[in-house]
């Protein structure tokens, strides 16, 4: 079983909780720019969610998303 993060940009509110938690969990400070997940066009009509190189898909961002923009699913294989 492996974890997969399902992204639904339509549900993103631009709250940056995912970025804040990622940087806190991995870098021990609140620094969205250092997070492995990035939100662009935060308050535009179509926000974008992307993952940077180095992201281990630990799923912390999805566990802390409160708006169902990020969800973890477990898949068979590998």
């Amino acid at each position: 079983m492996t974890a997969e993060i399902i992204v639904n940009e339509n549900n993103c509110t631009g709250c940056l909780i995912c970025q804040l938690w990622c940087s806190f969990f991995h870098k021990q400070k609140f620094s969205p720019s250092e997070a492995y997940i990035q939100i662009t066009n935060q308050y535009g009509l179509n926000p974008k969610i992307s993952y940077l190189d180095g992201c281990t898909k630990c799923g912390q961002c999805a566990q802390h998303c409160l708006y169902d923009a990020l969800r973890i699913t477990m898949t068979e294989g590998k």
Binding site: T13, S23, E34
Partner: protein
């Protein structure tokens, strides 16, 4: 000093001399005033000379954030400004949300102080250490949405404070907007920014915010988030936002306007208007609205709102009939940087003065009809100071000077129009605070105590008072109102409501009921200590709040304000006709009619609870000594 939570740095921008400097914060000041609202008061008391012209280069704008802002602490994204406001002449604070304060912290600053006046239109960019005053020739004359979009294109997802044409034209009720969504500066902050030839401020940073105790913070955060995540009402708050707490359609239904009530129903909002729900950074209770008109007039219009209830409330105007009209009018107000509450109040007042024969086309130099086109015309005339709009742009006080005895008919306090009407909502702390708030009839600091507990038992009220950190001895006094049937004394309670608000806004926390309900003095102090490592006590925070509010009061006494200005509007003592119904000025539970005598007693009780002189409304020397404020008064 190894700051945690705080950056310890203040950015000073002198527009006259195009000089940018950084000053350091002092740990003793921090312990006395905490940050945000409190530190802003301290900085304002040191920087603002009494009796200056608010729209002159002598005025200074102090913008601050709190020590919790920039972290993931739920709802920690407040931006606070203190300055001298042109609508009332008071030195007061304004609070906004969205991302400006968050980005300011990430860029390495707790406060930014803007002084002087630029020679030509400029905008300010703050990108960590790179701070620049740039030419705004091409932005001047553009509206807030265009200006913010321009800056967002240039610096993706930056925090933006911008003004529109109303601010440029020094309309005394002009506001700024943060991220084209959050209103910022009722009472004329937009005009002050405009008077400095400053069009906008854009901020973005990537320095990060370190905290003191990671393990303790993680424990506190996870516990709090569990409560928020499983709060039974959370889903409906996210779905409806503020429409959940103020169903405008029901209001109109009560007025007998069923057709209009259907225009602002939940169904219309969800099926026909809601485009995107957006949140302030770190907020788990997102309530900001991006609306899109999808059919009928103005199809395709996208409108950013701090809540859909703001345009919906415009439908309470008799001249408006459809949500399309309400959203169009509200969007124009936002773009120009006007205040929808003041515009609505002007529109109602002028209509009434026409009915009473006080105004005619001779005064207003315009054809007056109670309809949408007249409202749109009025908005443009005020924003651009055209004709009668020029007179209204100078505010209620000027209008009162121009027409004999007209002030008695106005629903204003200290020159600012009333937000919450107690004849309809009854006299809770939010209605009462409009009388004693140094700014004038403003609603912010009285929030929550008589609303979260509305309809509840006295025991429920008491739990709520404990949550806010109200001392046990004061709770006994709060339960002793002028008439027993009133249940609670809103005069005495307002003092503690203001202090609780001051704590939240000094820390940088949202004071809206849906977030406020999760906090207590104990929990905010625990978060504060985990973040800053300063280990302050509950009493330290409580005292800092009292100190800050008293300092704000002192500044306004020096401006000439006293008890004579804390005046209930005459109209409140007359019945209010609403549709076929008539409402009277009553206490919070609706059992007692509020007379002049009771109103004055509540004022006396408020001053007494604050330790202020009842005749003058000034802080007593003893209280000032206790708070260490003697040097200011």
């Amino acid at each position: 000093m190894d700051w945690k939570g705080y950056t310890g740095r203040i950015l000073n921008v002198d527009l006259t001399n195009e000089k940018i400097s950084i000053s350091k914060e002092n740990i003793e000041d921090i312990k006395q005033y905490i940050g945000g609202f409190g530190m802003n008061c301290k900085l304002a008391a040191d920087l603002l000379k009494p009796n200056i012209d608010p729209l002159s280069s002598q005025n200074t704008i102090i913008i601050g954030t709190g020590p919790l802002v920039g972290t993931i602490t739920p709802g920690a994204s407040r931006t606070v400004a203190i300055t001298k406001f042109p609508a009332t002449g008071a030195i007061a604070n304004s609070c906004g949300s969205m991302s400006f304060g968050f980005h300011l912290k990430q860029a390495g600053y707790d406060h930014v102080i803007i002084s002087g006046k630029a020679e030509n239109p400029v905008y300010l960019t703050i990108l960590n250490q790179k701070v620049e005053i740039l030419d705004a020739k091409t932005l001047w004359g553009r509206d807030i949405v265009e200006t913010t979009d321009y800056l967002w294109d240039k610096f993706d997802s930056c925090g933006v404070i911008a003004i529109g044409q109303a601010g440029e034209n020094l309309v005394k009720s002009a506001m700024a907007l943060i991220d084209k969504t959050s209103t910022f500066g009722r009472g004329g902050l937009g005009a002050i920014i405009g008077s400095k030839n400053l069009k906008a401020i854009a901020v973005k940073g990537n320095l990060g915010v370190p905290i003191a105790n990671l393990k303790e913070f993680k424990r506190l955060y996870n516990n709090l988030l569990k409560r928020i995540r499983y709060y039974p009402q959370r889903d409906s708050w996210i779905k409806l936002g503020m429409l959940r707490s103020l169903p405008v359609g029901m209001l109109l239904g009560a007025k007998g306007q069923k057709k209009k009530a259907r225009q602002c129903s939940e169904r219309v909002y969800l099926k026909k208007l809601k485009r995107r729900r957006i949140a302030c950074p770190s907020c788990p209770m997102a309530d900001k609205d991006v609306l899109e008109i999808r059919e009928g007039a103005y199809t395709g219009l996208i409108s950013y709102n701090s809540s859909v209830i703001n345009p919906f409330l415009m439908l309470t105007l008799d001249g408006l009939n459809t949500y399309n009209e309400a959203i169009k009018a509200f969007d124009m107000i936002n773009r120009y940087g006007l205040d929808s509450l003041t515009i609505t109040a002007f529109f109602q007042f002028i209509s009434k003065m026409y009915e009473e024969g006080v105004f005619s086309e001779q005064n207003t130099e315009m054809q007056w009809k109670n309809d949408f086109n007249t409202l749109i015309n009025l908005i443009e005339m005020i924003a651009y100071r055209k004709g009668f709009g020029n007179e209204l742009a100078d505010g209620w006080r000027k209008l009162a000077e121009n027409y004999e005895d007209i002030d008695k008919k106005m629903l204003t306090v200290k020159g600012l129009d009333v937000v919450f009407e107690p004849r309809f909502l009854r006299l809770g702390t939010m209605e009462f605070e409009q009388i004693v708030n140094p700014k004038g009839a403003h609603v912010a600091s009285g929030g929550s105590p008589t609303y979260v507990g509305a309809g509840g038992s006295m025991e429920k009220f008491k739990n709520h008072f404990n949550r806010m950190g109200i001392p046990e001895s004061a709770i006994d006094r709060i339960f002793k109102p002028p008439k027993k049937q009133m249940g609670i004394n809103v005069g005495r309670l307002t003092r503690y409501s203001e202090d609780w608000y001051t704590i939240l806004t000094s820390l940088g926390l949202c004071a809206r009921a849906q977030m406020n309900r999760f906090w207590s003095l104990k929990s905010v102090t625990a978060f504060y200590n985990a973040i800053t490592g300063l280990n302050l006590s509950l009493e330290d925070l409580r005292k800092a709040a009292e100190r800050s509010w008293n300092l704000l009061k002192i500044m306004n006494i020096k401006e000439g304000f006293s008890r004579k200005d804390d005046k209930f509007p005459n109209e409140w003592f007359k019945p209010l006709k609403f549709g076929e119904n008539e409402f009277k000025f009553q206490d919070f539970f609706g059992g007692i009619n509020i007379t002049h005598e009771i109103a004055n007693q509540l004022l006396d009780d408020y001053y007494d609870e604050r330790g202020w002189d009842k005749q003058k409304g000034h802080p007593s020397q003893a209280r000032l000594e206790e708070l260490g404020l003697n040097k200011y008064f």
